[in-house]
Symmetry: C2
Subunit: 252 residues, 2 copies
Amino acid sequence: MVERQTGVALWRQIADRMRLAINNGDFDETGMMPPETVLAARFGVNRHTVRSAMATLADEGIVRAIQGVGTRIERRDRLRFPISRRTRFSQGLGNQAREIEGRMLEADTDVAPALVAQALGLAAGTPCVRMETVNSADKRPISRATHYFPSERFAGIAEAYEKTRSITAALRELGVSDYVRRSTEISAIHAEGDDMRHLKLSPGAIILVATAINTDLAGMPIQYSRTRFAADRVKLTVEPENDDIGDLGQSA
Amino acid sequence: MVERQTGVALWRQIADRMRLAINNGDFDETGMMPPETVLAARFGVNRHTVRSAMATLADEGIVRAIQGVGTRIERRDRLRFPISRRTRFSQGLGNQAREIEGRMLEADTDVAPALVAQALGLAAGTPCVRMETVNSADKRPISRATHYFPSERFAGIAEAYEKTRSITAALRELGVSDYVRRSTEISAIHAEGDDMRHLKLSPGAIILVATAINTDLAGMPIQYSRTRFAADRVKLTVEPENDDIGDLGQSA
DNA sequence: TATAGTTATCTAGATTAATAGACATTAAGG
DNA sequence: CCTTAATGTCTATTAATCTAGATAACTATA
């Protein structure tokens, strides 16, 4: 409930809490805010007070009220996803979300597509493990990725990922204690098909595509991945190369 | 300056800022707040608004207004200083202060006092490096410490500390990559002499004394220290033994 | 088309926050 | 003892915030 006499206006408290809830994905199912009367009852305030709060959120472009229909959620604050020489998914998101989850959709082994084989320095037709994953922050899907690993060296990667729910941890289980990013390419496309469904996007939504190659410390390519981010939920930040965090303990 | 129409009352903004300033030690020279009229002018508000802010600070016990004299600063919020198996000074204070500074007062080499020699498992008369340091948070002195290190192994510790301003970093330079706390004893005394002066305390002020022994990972004692905390500025929190916390926070 | 559910707008009043000014009270110092 | 410089208290006024209720406008749906 809201607190009175604290020197913070009720509409301000409500606006702050609703902004948090929205970024939390609390209203993801409908994409709409609860009606003003419901919110007023929930917070124990007058409907006009709720309207003041909504007005500021609308002013920030976070929601849009539609007469006769309701108040639609327009956008959320975007998570900052750092891209650097030592990009790690959950570590990168750090404390921006309370709960970061990785889930595997499917995995199989097949010959690498020509592009992938070339990127990993493999002969055409070399078999690779392909893994499809979805990553969520606070229950909200953030990105969907397709990973390729050379089968010869990483036959058990899918099982390791299932167990650890982390690429970094899975690679460690297979003897790769550390790895770095050789290259990252970023582009943008419109959402479609599977990605649209898994990321819970609407037609026309934008997807940021980051294509990356990781190598072990000897410089041997170990992973090719194509990650599709819901562009309305993240911003990618390219960071200065930072070598000197190497001595920090790897936390899972 | 203060912001209007933000949903946060002016008196609240002023109270928050003055509380910060007090904890910052901004008024340490006099121990008094500026007069209400001065603050009103500085913030561009009416004197009554400043009085509302001061009333809440007085209510929190942070200041006390004395008619005819002024408003005296009574106490500050205390920094929380965690004591655990992996106690590190600046890391422990974490984000409680913007700037954490260590300064060396003096250093010499002499035979260890009997108590120290016993604690470090040294023969009576073994020479030790003694270092006197002062630690400050946001320019306000927090603690004063006397450290003993066996000379044989840590002859250059004083120079390393001068360079790095950190015990942890200095030990690392001398080949101790990690260390743990074997024991901590806590007691309280009245401030006197040197400590009173360096910690900027008044007669009668309380000092918390923490006597600690640190060992390397092999269990060999490497450091005996006696740290005197200004009791009105810190609270020591003894934390559950936690082996795997490691060096996650990369605060330099 | 009628109805239900929703946001938009208006008026009125109560409460809180902020400004303005006058004067009382207290303590320290010349 | 008087002056000065502070805080304490009071009244009055204005602006911002919150409540209350009524009604209009709009959308989707049966």
